[in-house]
């Protein structure tokens, strides 16, 4: 039985990222405040990727229930719950399906607080998995986070590990604003220490590795590719700083600029397509706010601007990986390309 609402400072737990999210939801459900989680197959089935496993058994349909095969209806219903005092959580089965609910998200959820002069708040968390690199094809593999950082009124989180997923979900479930909570399926099984009761604030980046020669700002799954690239480059005497923004709205530009001022070389890495992606925004901000510290153009490490293929070999060519990060740092520092 989960001990919900445990105070900070408790012993560390070893959890997978999926279990960490489950635990944060569990604690919120157990707290007794009005809350409801809706989504396809998240009830008795425990979710397509198993994140809500066991929660329906404990809390039942009153708290967690299957939604229809219609994201617009589910999100619309959840917004109704949220503005009437019930904290709402929605799971959209694949990030790619968010389009069906788009008007509800960007025109309704994001605008109601503003539109009503602050009379309404929309405490809504939309959980949705990125299913990148799993051979699921062009309609089930996309990373669409940049769409949402573009919309004022939305917050966007992309945890890269169990502790951040748990801590950010705790913060999300206390927030009064609509939040996109983007989970990476390939990271669900990643295990790590989680401190019960410890929240992670939105808008605070994490420096995962310190370095002096170049900075890599990486999102979600690319955080781990960037860390692997940093290991590779360290063997060649190149020291790379790796930063995970954790939330892209709000965005902790301070930490990124402080790193740029130190290393003067910066790359951004994400699974999303290159054009109009998160990396474009970071590049623009670095130019605007850190121009005098740029020793080379900001590098974008991103998926090619083509639909994501199903075929594994073609898919591998489209997605960036640790080698792409290494190559970007080589370009930043004008290094000789290492033999591979």
């Amino acid at each position: 039985m989960t001990e919900a609402g445990t105070a900070a400072g408790s012993e560390l737990l070893e959890l997978t990222m999926g279990e960490a999210i489950n635990r944060a939801l569990d604690e919120a459900f157990a707290a007794g405040e009005p809350i409801m989680h809706l989504g396809q197959d998240i009830g008795p089935h425990g979710g397509t990727f198993g994140v809500t496993r066991g929660l329906w058994d404990r809390y039942g349909d009153e708290v967690i229930r299957d939604g229809p095969l219609c994201e617009s209806a589910t999100v619309g219903f959840a917004i109704g719950l949220a503005i009437s005092g019930v904290r709402a959580v929605v799971e959209i089965e694949f990030f790619d399906f968010v389009g069906v609910a788009m008007d509800q998200i960007f025109n309704q959820a994001a605008k109601l607080h503003y539109f009503t002069g602050g009379k309404l708040t929309v405490p809504l968390v939309i959980r949705t998995p990125i299913v990148a690199r799993m051979g699921m094809g062009p309609q089930h593999s996309q990373s669409l986070e940049a769409w949402f950082m573009h919309i004022p009124g939305l917050k966007v989180a992309l945890p890269s590990g169990p502790a951040d997923a748990y801590g950010l979900m705790r913060s999300a479930l206390r927030d009064v604003n609509p939040i996109l909570f983007i989970e990476n399926v390939r990271l669900y099984g990643r295990r790590g220490p989680v401190e019960p009761g410890r929240s992670v604030p939105f808008g605070k980046a994490r420096v995962l590795r310190e370095g002096d020669d170049a900075t890599v700002v990486a999102l979600s799954g690319m955080v781990h590719e960037a860390l692997a690239a940093a290991d590779t480059l360290a063997e060649r005497g190149i020291s790379v700083e790796v930063i995970d923004p954790r939330t892209i709205a709000p965005l902790d530009m301070e930490t990124i600029l402080a790193s740029l001022r130190k290393t003067m070389h910066l790359a951004v890495a994400h699974d999303a397509h290159r054009t109009g992606g998160f990396g474009a925004e970071i590049a623009a901000r670095c130019m605007e706010e850190g121009f005098d510290f740029l020793d080379a153009p900001v590098e974008r490490v991103a998926a090619l601007d083509v639909p994501i293929p199903c075929a594994p070999n073609a898919m591998a060519a489209v997605y960036p990986d640790a080698a792409s990060v290494v190559a970007a740092v080589e370009r930043l520092l004008a290094l000789e390309t290492a033999d591979r």
Binding site: F291, D295, R331
Partner: protein, 361 residues
């Protein structure tokens, strides 16, 4: 109105003290004219007028202000006609097509260290000058206390400003230096301290300035006393500590003060006070096989004397060849404050003062 703000002279600088106004409220100032002395924790520098016009002083002497605080406002001279902004006055980036290709970071470092990018070969893609090219050229002095980078940056900032703003003239000649050689042979101090050629040059230069006071001064004002800045090479670059009231000192006192300042400069232990207030600079490279060089006047001073090696040379005297000690001396002058003839008179005075040294030490 053009605002003159307190510049950030080093990365660590957050505030500065308004030491002294060099112009009065309502004065007409020229672009590039030093208008105020600012003291930072590292050094004392002068801020120059960015535009010509009539100045209104905003900050009070003695005030400690944050960087970017407005110090004064300058109303452009031609009433109703907006003064050209600095950006507008600057030539377009690629006006001559010869602008070096450099990263923004490299440009910032070059500006901070007073390095001319056109002298550097870039190692980046397509020959772009990148930060590491500047690091190779002039490594940031990171070895010692936080103090050093600030000092060095202040010094280089002054070199850059001087080079860019002061119209230089250079007047030089080979001087008779038998007296200097003789004085060096004879000079010995009871304490056993070593008298150097530099000490004797200081003595002679200070006396020559008494003869030609036009070259002793700062900020367009002739100074009554000679505070002699002595260029000293250190591992972090050149600094110029000041021998105060050099005209009042005996050879022994000059020797002692010179030894103290050179020692402190090389140890990076100079007090900001040691660097402030010079009215004339001597740069002596006579320890090297150097005869002639043309220095950059250290603004707001008016002139700098550059001396080469003291050497025996064949000279014609009354139709006969003889071997005599000679010394090249070159004086760089801010042409706005003095002209070539003044420099020539100074060299003549210096030669005379060198020759009489044996009788006056």
């Amino acid at each position: 109105m053009v605002a003159v703000t307190l510049p950030q002279l080093s990365l660590s600088m957050e505030e500065g003290k308004v030491l002294r106004w060099l112009v009065g409220d309502g004065d007409r100032v020229e672009a590039g004219q030093p208008i105020v002395e600012i003291e930072t924790d590292k050094a004392t520098i002068e801020v120059e007028a960015p535009e010509q016009g009539v100045i209104r002083l905003v900050a009070a002497e003695g005030a400690m202000l944050a960087v970017e605080t407005t110090l004064a406002e300058i109303a452009p001279t031609a009433a109703g006609e907006p003064a050209p902004s600095r950006a507008a006055a600057a030539p377009p980036a690629n006006a001559n097509g010869g602008r070096p290709v450099a990263s923004p970071a490299a440009r910032r470092l070059a500006a901070e260290r007073g390095i001319d990018l056109s002298t550097i070969r870039g190692s980046g893609p397509g020959g772009r000058i990148v930060a590491r090219d500047l690091e190779r050229l002039a490594p940031a002095p990171a070895s010692s206390p936080a103090e050093r980078p600030g000092l060095r940056e202040a010094v280089t900032a002054n070199i850059v400003a001087s080079w860019q703003r002061i119209p230089h003239i250079q007047i030089g000649g080979e001087l008779a230096a038998e007296g200097l050689a003789e004085a060096r042979r004879r000079a010995s101090l009871p304490s056993g301290e070593k008298v150097t050629v530099t000490d004797l040059l200081i003595l002679a230069a200070v006396r020559a300035l008494a003869d030609v006071p036009e070259l002793n001064g700062a900020a367009g004002r002739r100074a009554e006393r000679v505070h002699l800045s002595l260029a000293v090479a250190t591992q972090d670059g050149v600094v110029a500590p000041v021998i105060r009231d050099a005209g009042e000192l005996s050879l022994a006192q000059v020797t002692r003060e010179r030894a103290r300042l050179v020692g402190a400069a090389r140890e990076g232990a100079l007090d900001p006070h040691d660097l402030a207030g010079g009215t004339f600079t001597l740069s002596n490279l006579g320890a090297y096989p150097v005869d002639f060089f043309s220095p950059v006047v250290s603004g707001p001073q008016v002139a700098m004397l550059a001396t080469g090696r003291l050497a025996e040379k064949p000279v014609a005297i009354d139709g006969m060849l003889a071997i005599r000690h000679r010394l090249w001396a070159n004086v760089a002058i801010d042409h706005r404050a003095a002209d070539g003839e003044t420099g020539a008179r100074f060299l003549a005075a210096l030669e005379r003062r060198l020759e009489e040294l044996p009788n006056r030490i």
